[in-house]
C-alpha cells in the first residue's frame, strides 16, 4: 500500500522533472530564436551606409541614406535621461538607506511605492507628459523626451541602487558614526563608494531601458531626419525608426528596419555584457 503510493509520487516527480526540462528548453530556444532571427534578417541588410548616414530625399520610399539620425538621437536621449535620473535617484536611494536606517516601516512604505511606480507602463508616462506639453504649449523636443524618459527610468534606477545599498553591513554604518562622520559623509564617502559596482550596474540597466523604449518618446521627442543640435529640437530614436520603417510596404525600407533592429539588439546586448563585466571587475574591492 505504502509502496504503491511512493511509486506514484516518484512518477509524479519524474513527470514534473521532464516538464521542467521542457520549460527550460523553451526559454533557451526562444532567446536563441529571437537573436538568430533578428541577426539573420538584419545582418545581410546592414551596411556602412546605414550606420553612417542620415536619411536622404525619398529615404522612406527606398531612397539612399541610413539611420544615423536615430542612432545619435537615441544616444543623446538615453545619456540625457540617465544623467537626469541619476542626479535624482542617487540622493533618494542614499536617503532611504542612510537617513532612514532606523525607520524600517517608512523604508518599507517608500520601497513599496517605488516598486509600484516601476510597474507603470511607459505609455502612461508618455501620455502624461504629452498632456503637460499641450497644456504648457511645448512642442516635441529632445528635452521633453529626456525628461519623460528620466521620470520613467527613475524607479528602476532607485530600486537597483537600493538593492545594493541595502547590503552594506550595519557595522560599517556604526563604525562610520563612531568616527564622527556626518550623515552626508556616511552617504557619499562610505555607502556610495562601497556600492559603486552595484550602482554602475543599476545605471547601465536604466540606460538600456531608456535606449530601447518607444512608448514614452513617441509623444514627446518627435521624429526628424536630422541630427538634433540643441535640446529644443525634435530627435529621432532608434526603436521608433524601426517601428516607422517596418510599417512601410516597400521591402527595401523594411530590410533597413531589420538592420536597425540588429543594431539595437547588438547595442543592448553589449550594454548587458559590459554591465556584468563591470560588476565582476570592481566587486573584489568591496568588503561584502
Amino acid at each position: 500500500m505504502w509502496g504503491i503510493k511512493l511509486i506514484g509520487k516518484k512518477t509524479e516527480e519524474l513527470i514534473f522533472k521532464q516538464l521542467m526540462r521542457l520549460a527550460n528548453a523553451i526559454i533557451l530556444f526562444v532567446i536563441g530564436l529571437i537573436v538568430f532571427t533578428i541577426m539573420r534578417k538584419g545582418l545581410p541588410a546592414l551596411s556602412w551606409e546605414i550606420i553612417s548616414q542620415v536619411p536622404k530625399g525619398g529615404y522612406y520610399f527606398g531612397g539612399e541614406g541610413g539611420v544615423l539620425n536615430a542612432i545619435v538621437g537615441s544616444i543623446y536621449l538615453a545619456f540625457g535621461a540617465t544623467f537626469l535620473a541619476f542626479v535624482i535617484s542617487l540622493p533618494s536611494a542614499l536617503f532611504i538607506n542612510v537617513h532612514l536606517q532606523k525607520h524600517k516601516k517608512l523604508q518599507d512604505i517608500i520601497r513599496l511605492f517605488i516598486d509600484v511606480m516601476w510597474g507603470i507602463p511607459s505609455v502612461v508616462y508618455g501620455a502624461f507628459a504629452f498632456g503637460i506639453m499641450i497644456y504648457m504649449g511645448i512642442r516635441a523636443s529632445l528635452m521633453a523626451g529626456i525628461v519623460t524618459v528620466a521620470i520613467f527610468i527613475m524607479p528602476i534606477m532607485i530600486r537597483g541602487m537600493d538593492e545594493v545599498l541595502k547590503m552594506v553591513p550595519k557595522t560599517l554604518f556604526e563604525s562610520g558614526l563612531s568616527l564622527g562622520s556626518t550623515k552626508y559623509e556616511l552617504s557619499y564617502r562610505i555607502f556610495f563608494k562601497q556600492c559603486i559596482p552595484g550602482i554602475a550596474t543599476a545605471i547601465l540597466l536604466s540606460f538600456g531601458r531608456a535606449f530601447g523604449d518607444v512608448a514614452a518618446v513617441l509623444f514627446t521627442a518627435g521624429f526628424t531626419d536630422n541630427i538634433p543640435t540643441s535640446l529644443t529640437q525634435p530627435a529621432a530614436t532608434l526603436p521608433l525608426a524601426i517601428f516607422f520603417q517596418l510599417s512601410s510596404p516597400i521591402p527595401e525600407v523594411q530590410n533597413r528596419a531589420y538592420a536597425a533592429a540588429a543594431i539595437l539588439t547588438f547595442i543592448i546586448l553589449a550594454i548587458s555584457v559590459f554591465g556584468r563585466m563591470a560588476l565582476r571587475k570592481y566587486k573584489k574591492n568591496s568588503i561584502n
Binding site: 527550460n24 509600484v116 552626508y184 530601447g212 518607444v214 524601426i242
Partner: protein
C-alpha cells in the same frame, strides 16, 4: 577647527534637504500623473459622457463624439489573460527547477539568459513577432483549426507578450521561492519525504500568496505593454470573437492616435481617459501584489 566642523554641519544639513527634495519629487510623481490625467479626462465627463457609457459602450466614433472603450478594454483583458496563461506554467516550472533542482552551472547560465530576455527592447520583440510568430499563426496554427487569417491576431499578440513577461515573472518567482527557509526543506526530507513531496506540500504551500502575487505583477506588466502588441495584434476596432480575431488593446490605441488627437474635439481627453484607465488598473494590481509579497518576505 570650529569653522571646519560648522562647515561640515551645514554641508550635512544642506544635503539632507536636497535628498528629501529628490525623494519627494519621486514619491509625488504618481500623484501628479493621476491628477493631470484625471483633469484632462474630466472634460469628457463635463460634456455628457457618463463613466458607464465610456467603459461599457462599444461605439467608437471620435468624429461624432462617441467614445466607447469596451472593445479596447475587452481586447486588453483577453490578450493579457491569454499571455499569462501561456507564460505561467513555464515560469512556474523553471522557477522550481532553478531554486530546487538545478546544478550550479545551469543556474549560472539561466540567470544571464533571463536578464537578456528582460533587456531586449519591446520593439525588437515586435519585429521578431512579425517575422516568426505572425507566419506561425497564419500558416501553421490557424490552418490546423481550419481558419484563414492574416496572422495579426489576438493569439499572436498573446504569444509575443507571454515571451516578454516570462523573465519578469520568473525573477519574482525565484525571489519568492528563495525566501522559504531551507530548514523547512531539511525537516521535510528528514521525515522521509521525497524532494517532490517537500516542494509540493511545504514550499509551494508556504509561498502560495507570493506566487499568486507574482502572476498579479505579470498581469499588470502585460496589461500595459504597448509597442510589441501594437505591431502584431491587428488593431481592428471591434470586440474580438475568438483567438484568431484581430484585437486592439488599450495601450495600442493610445500610441496609435497621438498624431490625430489634436484635430478632433475631445479626442485628446478620451485618450487621456484611456491612459487613466491603464494607470489606475495597473497601479492597483501592482499595489495589492506588492503588499502581499512584502508581507510574505517579512513573515518568513
Amino acid at each position: 577647527m570650529t569653522a571646519l566642523s560648522l562647515k561640515r554641519i551645514y554641508q550635512d544639513k544642506l544635503n539632507t534637504v536636497v535628498m528629501i527634495m529628490a525623494l519627494t519629487l519621486v514619491i509625488t510623481t504618481p500623484l501628479i500623473i493621476f491628477a493631470s490625467l484625471y483633469t484632462k479626462s474630466s472634460m469628457l465627463f463635463a460634456s455628457d459622457h457618463s463613466l458607464w457609457d465610456l467603459l461599457f459602450s462599444s461605439a467608437w466614433e471620435p468624429t461624432k463624439g462617441k467614445f466607447g472603450f469596451l472593445p479596447f478594454i475587452i481586447s486588453s483583458i483577453e490578450i493579457t489573460i491569454l499571455s499569462v496563461i501561456i507564460a505561467a506554467p513555464i515560469c512556474f516550472l523553471v522557477a522550481i527547477h532553478l531554486t530546487q533542482y538545478a546544478k550550479h552551472w545551469f543556474v549560472k547560465i539561466m540567470y544571464p539568459v533571463t536578464d537578456i530576455l528582460a533587456g531586449i527592447p519591446s520593439v525588437v520583440y515586435g519585429v521578431w513577432g512579425i517575422l516568426v510568430v505572425v507566419p506561425l499563426v497564419s500558416d501553421v496554427i490557424a490552418p490546423f483549426f481550419g481558419i484563414q487569417t492574416t496572422g495579426y491576431t489576438l493569439l499572436t499578440g498573446a504569444i509575443v507578450l507571454s515571451i516578454m513577461i516570462i523573465p519578469f515573472i520568473l525573477n519574482i518567482l525565484i525571489e519568492i521561492l528563495n525566501t522559504v527557509p531551507f530548514e523547512l526543506t531539511e525537516a521535510g526530507l528528514s521525515l522521509g519525504s521525497t524532494r517532490w513531496q517537500v516542494i509540493k506540500h511545504i514550499i509551494l504551500k508556504k509561498a502560495k500568496p507570493g506566487i499568486i502575487s507574482a502572476f498579479g505583477l505579470g498581469i499588470a506588466r502585460a496589461f500595459g505593454e504597448t509597442i510589441a502588441v501594437l505591431m502584431v495584434a491587428g488593431n481592428v476596432i471591434k470586440i474580438p470573437d475568438g483567438l484568431f480575431s484581430a484585437s486592439y488593446p488599450l495601450p495600442a490605441l493610445i500610441a496609435n492616435n497621438y498624431g490625430e488627437m489634436m484635430s478632433i474635439p475631445l479626442y485628446d481627453s478620451a485618450l487621456m481617459f484611456g491612459a487613466l484607465i491603464l494607470f489606475v488598473t495597473i497601479f492597483l494590481f501592482n499595489l495589492v501584489s506588492r503588499i502581499v509579497i512584502y508581507r510574505l518576505e517579512r513573515s518568513l
